[in-house]
Symmetry: C2
Subunit: 354 residues, 2 copies
């Protein structure tokens, strides 16, 4: 059996017994009933994912997957492709948004070369990044498939491998991405899986003007027309209109779920990876925590398709895992509510009148 098949077989839904135990305790906390709202819902989820009333969430890592996209030849991004490797260096040097926010949250940043169109083997040899390069950028999806089916599987399995390699020290995963042009494949994935129109889903990415936005929509329409993936086949969608880092994110999510560990899904690109993962194995949904609602208009439809309400709404549109890093604090907070708050009885506090 392949790594992907073994992983899929290891993914079960949340444990309803631990969900019930968590709810039972949270119902009795010395506070007006459910007064910590969404944190309490999240605490139930985490108990159900980890099969524990005392979930450990101190080991935190943001895995930032980098890859390039042949579709930049169509003029879908304001930034040149060289920015992808430049930003990888910025991550390694600790100067990017994700470095600052992960430090604040006490999370490690793990940078993975999934398919950057530049030679990064020096960084990998020095242990600064993980090398899982599938290729030097995808093919131009406006003209054909992004990658072979074999490479789609390879990119997903790379993400699974990373989840396994980190599992010894990491209790909570966060996803992140870097790849100039990657809102375009992500929007194409969203269109295929949500069934929403390109017009509803497409946004300005890193800052397109009106004319550039119209052009981007036309390119995405062309991508869909040219590739026509089966909406029920996650690997086919990935191979035809996806990206190497998007496959890596999907794999990381599958790998985390197989290890019964929560995975905080960042923004627009990460959510495209999550949609691929859920299409491959629907039970994976039970291990996903949606970090935030991105400024990209399609994000809400993607999160609705996942059935996941985001924790934060701060007008972010950076990616890299920045929203996931911010949400790590809320995951810790939810666990603190479950494990550190006294019940009415423990605290000797009088309850409400009936």
């Amino acid at each position: 059996m392949s790594l992907l098949e073994t992983t899929i077989k290891a993914i079960y839904p949340q444990d309803s017994e631990y969900r019930d135990l968590a709810k039972e305790r949270l119902d009795q906390l010395a506070l007006p009933h459910w007064a910590l709202g969404d944190l309490m819902d999240l605490a139930i989820d985490i108990a159900g994912m980890t099969r524990s009333m005392n979930p450990v969430v101190s080991g935190k890592a943001i895995v930032t997957m980098a890859g390039d996209h042949g579709v930049v030849a169509e003029g879908v991004s304001k930034f040149p492709q060289e920015v992808t490797p430049q930003m990888v260096h910025n991550f390694v040097n600790g100067g990017a948004g994700i470095n600052a926010l992960a430090r604040q949250a006490g999370a490690e940043v793990v940078v993975v070369d999934m398919g950057v169109a530049a030679d990064l083997h020096d960084l990998a040899e020095n242990g600064k990044i993980i090398n899982k390069k599938v290729g030097f950028g995808t093919n131009n999806i406006a003209k054909g498939a992004a990658m072979s089916m074999a490479n789609a599987i390879r990119s997903v399995e790379s993400g699974i491998e990373i989840a396994s390699e980190l599992a010894g020290s990491v209790d909570v995963f966060g996803t992140g991405d870097m790849g100039i042009g990657n809102t375009t494949p992500s929007t194409a994935i969203a269109a295929v899986i949500t069934g929403k129109s390109v017009e509803e889903l497409t946004g300005r990415g890193t800052g397109l003007d009106d004319e550039q936005l119209i052009h981007k929509r036309q390119v995405i329409e062309q991508i869909l027309l040219c590739n026509k993936p089966d909406p029920k086949n996650g690997l086919e969608i990935l191979s035809r209109v996806g990206g190497f880092e998007i496959g890596g994110i999907a794999g990381l999510i599958l790998g985390a779920a197989a290890q019964q560990k929560p995975v905080i899904v960042d923004g627009f690109i990460s959510t495209a990876g999550a949609l691929i993962a859920v299409t491959i194995e629907p039970f994976v949904r039970d291990f996903i925590i949606c970090a935030h609602r991105s400024m990209e208009p399609g994000h809400r439809y993607m999160q609705e398709k996942l059935g996941c309400r985001p924790l934060l709404d701060l007008n972010l549109r950076l990616g890299e895992g920045t929203g996931a890093a911010l949400a790590m604090n809320l995951v810790e907070a939810a666990v603190a509510v479950l494990t550190e708050v006294a019940t009415f009885e423990e605290a000797a506090v009088a309850g409400a009148d009936k």
Copy 2:
């Protein structure tokens, strides 16, 4: 000059020069323009408050002010009044929601007896809480004024004193409250200051049913009819329809602003304190960060009156400072964006095409 007068004189708006400097740097960060959205707006505010491009926010305290309310005689809460001192003991023992969330955020919890209707001098003598008791609960505001004008001033000045006493070690303040029945005076304050109707503003507090909610609205209408405070006189509003802990919160906010320190305002009761503070001195607004949007329906109108968009929306309705504790992480994150993220030039990353 009184402490209150000296404090008011020390409050100036944010420094526009530091706001401009912060914006200039944030404009150049190696990310799509303003891609960290609300965190970047918050970073500008914090630079403007602290007059610094390198604001220190490591010293964090939630000040949880406790007080009782004579209006509980009207049956406006589901919980008996004895819960207020019981919860003070729970805070001291570290078992309450605020203890768990403040620990997660690395913040100290400072508990203040502003006017609990129980003898707590043992806790104060052992240094577990700060004693600023103005009285054993307010008068029943459905029948007359909550407190004398002298005690209104005393409660506000107590909050100012606490801000001064803590200022040596605290860089960012968070407000918190505990007081059975205190959504009732808070709603009355909101009605006076926002001009909205009691029906729009009144919520279920700790969990009233439909009939109890109708009764609570009637009581609040009676409170307003009986007290008729001048909407432009913050101290008069506090003395007629307020509470000791609400005055303490208003004072803490004024004191923080006078020291040019950010103050994170928690939920419904804390926002009532903020409205009192802003009515006393409008410039104080520039130092307020709204933590979250509470489940209490009136909260949004109060935040609109303050002109403050909350950072979080997690269906919280606990108080104690719990929302402020969660928001402390976002304040730290905003400062990290300002101080730790490299510019395009520093990171040698290519900018966007024009």
